[in-house]
Structure formats: C-alpha cells, structure tokens
Amino acid sequence: MLTYTLRRLLMSIPTLLFIAFVIFMLLELAPGDPMASMPLTIPPEVKQQMREALGLGQPWYVRFPLWLNQFFIVEPQYWFDNTFGTNFADGAQRIISFQSRAPVFDVIAERIPQTLWVVGMSYVVGVLIALPIGIISAYKQYSVFDQSGTFITMIGFSIPPFFTGPLLIVIFAVQLDWLPSIYDTTHQVVDWETFKFQMWQMVLPVMVLALQTTAQIARYMRASMLDNLGQDYVRTARAKGLTESVVVMKHVLRNSMIPVITVIALGIPSIFGGAIITEQVFKVNGLGQLLILALQGSDIPMVMTITFLLAVLIVLMNLIADVLYGVFDPRIRYD
C-alpha cells in the first residue's frame, strides 16, 4: 500500500507540472488585464508602469519557471522558516498577488478556515443527509419515501444556487428575520453563545450547498445499497440470527460505503472550487470567492496558485479515493 501510494505520488509530479504549464498558458492567453479594475481616471501610461512593476513585462518563459521556483522552492522555505525559525528563504521573492500585493499563500491560509467551516461543513451535512436517504430509499425501494426522496433530491439538484440562495435569504433573513444574511468571517468561537451564533450564520449557506451534494450522494448511496442488499452474504447474516438493523447497518452499509466513499472523496475538489456562487451570495469569503475575484481582477499569481492547488487536490483525491478503496475493501491490495 505504501509503495503504491508513493508510486502514485511520484507519478503525479509530471502530471501536475504539465497541468501547471497548461493553466499558466491558458491564463497567459486569456484576455484579462489586472489593470481593468483600476478606474479609467488613471492614465494609460501610469497603468503601463504599474503593469511593469507587476512583472508583466516579462515573457512567459521567464515568468513560468519563476512561478515554479517560487511555488516549489521559495514558499516551502518560507513555511519551514516560519515553523522552525530558520532562514533558508533569505528574503527571496514569494508569490505575490497582483491585487493585494500580499503573499498569495498567506491570503489562502487566511481563507481556509472559513472555507472549511462553511463549504466543508456543508459537504459533511450534505453527505450526512444523503446517506440515510440513500439507505432508506434502497431498503424500502419503490416506497413513498424512496419516490419522494428521489423527487426532492432531483429538484434540489436542478435549481441553481443563485436562486436558492437569495430565496432562502428572503425567507429566513428578511421575512422571518431568524438568520443573518451575511456571514461574519471575523466571528470567533470561544464559548457556547458564540458557537451558537456560528451555527446560526452557517445554516443558510450550508443548506444551499448541501442541497447539491445531497442529491448526488444520495443517488449513489441508493444504487450501491441496492447492489449489496441482493448479495448472498446478507442472507448469511440473516441466517445467523442477526437483527435487521445489524444486517443493514453493519453488513450491507460497510460494503455499500466503499464505492460511495470514493465518490465522496472525488467530490471534494469540486466543492472547494464550486462553491463560488454560494460564497458570493452569503459573503462567506472563502477560497471560491477569492478565486472568482482573482479571476475577475486577472490576478494571475493568485489564480494560478489556487487553480494549481485545486489541481493538486484533484490528483490527490483521486489517489486518496483509490487508497481508500484499498483500505475499506480488503480484497483490494495495492503493492
């Protein structure tokens, strides 16, 4: 297993380098300009100077290796220096955002907590809702619950978040005044009260995002459960005199979870990048919002770094999905 993982990791390096190159060239070709967000009152020659100060005067074959160097050598050095108080980086230039002139990694680090809180939580919630729905739907196939579950999850899937988001805000924040419509990213959880507030403010965005997750995972779960409910070992378990709940929740579930877990793992990258609209609607300024702002502002270093990190996540999650398969399914052994 370990060598398998290592081998996959090694193999993914060239892939990732290539992906980095393609993304870079794509951004290079794309017609955006970091100066677009500057007011028109700033004269063109000043804008030109600003562009040059950002390093945009250099051709791509200079800037790409530079970025690679910064990403793979300078940034880890900085990180190391920060953790152990050494001085390897020695003042080398880090990846700097065009928009804020802040080191890209610092900004990303700042965003990760709220992304995890909201987007991560919504995924967890979505999965937690989806699994029972999938399980019950399969166990009671073609029952009313199954039919309506399918119907509702499909509806959830087919309504875009830029509709559900404002709709929920209008209902719960404006009309009922129960929940805040704007997420407070500065909120610190220190005690029960603040925790409660944190939960409150997460309800709406989490609901919107979870809707999407739920629909997909529930369908997978249902299909997988159906596959396994018909297996011989289920009959064996029953013949042992086990209660129905043990049979379903232990024997069937464990087997059904194997493919679903990989689906869940493969879905993680897309939620990080895919929560853009919801983040926007609720002003949960997470990674998605950072990415979209960077895209709109043609903040190439930021876009490049975030998309590349997402690519790493995608490749990594592919790997994790495969490894998890091996972990949960003893029949599969990688070596």
């Binding site: 064996t236 013949a239 042992k240 024997h251 087997n255």
Partner: protein, 334 residues
C-alpha cells in the same frame, strides 16, 4: 439412525409463493417432511425445483415481498417457526438451526474478517464477550480443519480458498451447537477433491456433534455417499422420499428414475449416448392442477394432466407422488 425418535424438525404442508409480474410462482407446494435427531436428510432435485426456497421458508429468510409463506407448520423445539415472533425466530436462526449456503465465494461478507463473522452468532446467541468468542472461534476453525486457526481468524474471506471458505461457513453454522444444520448445496461450487474433503469433514462432525443435517444437492453421487434418507423434489413438490439405498435400488418416481439414468459415471459401462430428460422444467405459475412432471414423463397418462398426485406409500419409509406404480407397471387406483 434412531428410527423411532421424535423428529427435531417437522414440516407440514409448507407452501411458498412468489409474487411476480408474470403471476404467482408457486415455488413450494405442500411440502412435508421431518428430520430425526442425528440423521442426515438429503434433498435432491433439479435447479429451480424449490429446494432452497423450502429451506429458507423454514427460517423466514426469504425477502418478502416477493416471497409469501402461505401456509403449513414448521414444528421445532415445541414451537411453530412460521408463527413465532421475530425475536424468537432470530434466536433459532444461527442459534439452534445453522445454515450453510451454496456459494462460499459470495456468502461471506468480504469486508469483515473471518473471526468477526464467526464471533457474531456467538456473541448474539451465547452472550459471549469478545475474548470468549475469539477463543471459541478458534476452536471452531480447528474443528473444521483449518490449520493455523488463530492467525487465520484475522484474515479476510478473500484470503481463503473456496474450500476453506466453505469450511468457515460451516464453522459459522456450527458456532452455537445447533440441533439442526441445513446445508444448501455446500459443495456445488467446489472441486471434486475439495468436495471430498468437505464430505469427510461433515461425516466426522456429525459423529462428533450428533446433530441432524439437511443436505441439499443436485449431485446424486454426493447423496449416495452421505445421506441416510433422501427427498427428491420436482416442481416445488416432493416427488419421492426414501432411505438412501432404497432410492438408488428401487426408485419409484419416473423423475428419479430418469435422473439416475442421465448421469454418466466413471465406473462401469460407458453409455454410447447419454439419456436425456426431454422437455423443460415446469413454470409453476399458478397453483398446481396437475402433476408437474407430466410433460416430461414417459409413463404419464390422462389422469396426470388432471390431478396432482399425492404421496403414495410404496415401502417402509418410502413414498412417491405418482399415479403410476412402478412395481406393478400399472396406474394406481383413484
């Protein structure tokens, strides 16, 4: 085999139907038999004749819907298993009646270790703690002849060969010292050499533990070597029921006779051409109104298409459901 002993299991008029789109499939029709302590009852019959469904009906293991156990009684331990509540039924399953299924490759849960799977009924029925269960599991594995049992408890089913898996299945079924062991084609999926091993094991265990066994198979050779009494099923009904030697020596039902003829052997005369039971097995949609074997029977006559024959006694402990009397070569009286 103690002939006069009270049966441990007594099945009367068991009836199971499946509701399908094509109609009601009468998979088991008024099946009655009994099992005496320590005896091995063989059940043979072609595929789809209702062997498995009969046995699973006893313990309520059939999925419902589509299955529906319509009637009959299953007397076991002073209770009717078809009427008891779920909890009692569960305590019988795996506790007093062990079940071994046909396909060892798929009957074990692939994601739990063998040890966990053996321990489950022990903890459930015998109330053992983890440690006791582990110790007992090890004993059981040793009992069924798996070497290095202690280490192998931690292995997963896929790490076992087919024969060993079947032994594990047997160990699970034996876990709680059952009074009855039902083995549904336990060796069909195995090689002859491995099958021989399992049959040996079975004989050994039976003499050691003294339980009653129902052994389903469609291999007459296996039956010949292991059974005390045999039931031949056809079309959801019992066609013939006899002590084993009686069955092979004096088959009374035309289906049994045909069956005995179709199989080639490695000894004796090599037939130039195999005998074939022409035609197809019955559909069993709708309740039986005639003999299910009539279309394929070489002695069938008019009455066979009108009435479903009851089981006629043809000798001591020997009965056959046929209007045709093989001994006399003439139809029985109405």
């Amino acid at each position: 085999m103690p002939d006069g002993a009270l049966p441990v299991l007594d099945v009367r008029d068991l009836k199971t139907v499946f509701k399908t789109r094509a109609g009601e499939v009468h998979a088991v029709n008024d099946v009655s038999f009994s099992l005496k302590p320590g005896e091995l009852l063989g059940v043979v019959g072609e595929s789809g004749s209702g062997k498995s469904v009969t046995m699973m009906s006893l313990l309520g293991l059939l999925p419902s819907p589509p299955a529906d156990v319509r009637g009959g009684t299953v007397a076991f331990d002073g209770k009717d298993l078809l009427k008891v509540d779920r909890e009692t039924l569960r305590s019988v399953r795996g506790g007093k009646i062990g079940f071994v299924f046909q396909d060892p490759m798929t009957s074990l849960n692939p994601v739990f270790t063998v040890g966990q799977q053996i321990a489950e009924p022990l903890r459930k029925h015998m109330g053992m703690n983890k440690k006791q269960a582990a110790a007992r599991s090890q004993e059981l594995l040793e009992l069924v002849g798996i070497p290095d049992a202690k280490r192998r408890l931690a292995d997963y089913p896929h790490q076992f060969s087919g024969g060993m898996r079947q032994r594990v299945m047997i160990a699970i079924a034996l876990a709680c010292d059952p009074q009855v062991l039902i083995a549904d084609e336990p060796t069909t999926a195995l090689d002859v050499t491995i099958q021989a091993q399992i049959l040996e094991l079975m004989k050994e265990l039976r003499s050691k533990l003294g339980m009653a066994v129902i052994w389903i198979t469609h291999d007459l050779g296996v039956i010949a070597g292991i059974a005390d009494r045999v039931i031949v099923m056809y079309g959801g009904q019992i066609a013939e029921h006899a002590p084993v030697r009686e069955l092979f020596g004096n088959p009374q039902h035309p289906y049994t006779r045909a069956l005995l003829k179709t199989i080639p052997t490695i000894h004796g005369e090599r037939a130039a051409r195999l005998t074939v039971i022409e035609g197809q097995p019955p559909l069993m949609v709708g309740p039986p109104v005639a003999c299910p074997f009539r279309d394929r029977c070489d002695v069938a006559f008019e009455r066979c298409t009108r009435e479903n024959p009851p089981r006629y006694d043809v000798g001591p402990g020997h009965d056959a459901a046929c209007f045709y009397d093989a001994n006399t070569g003439a139809p029985r009286d109405a």
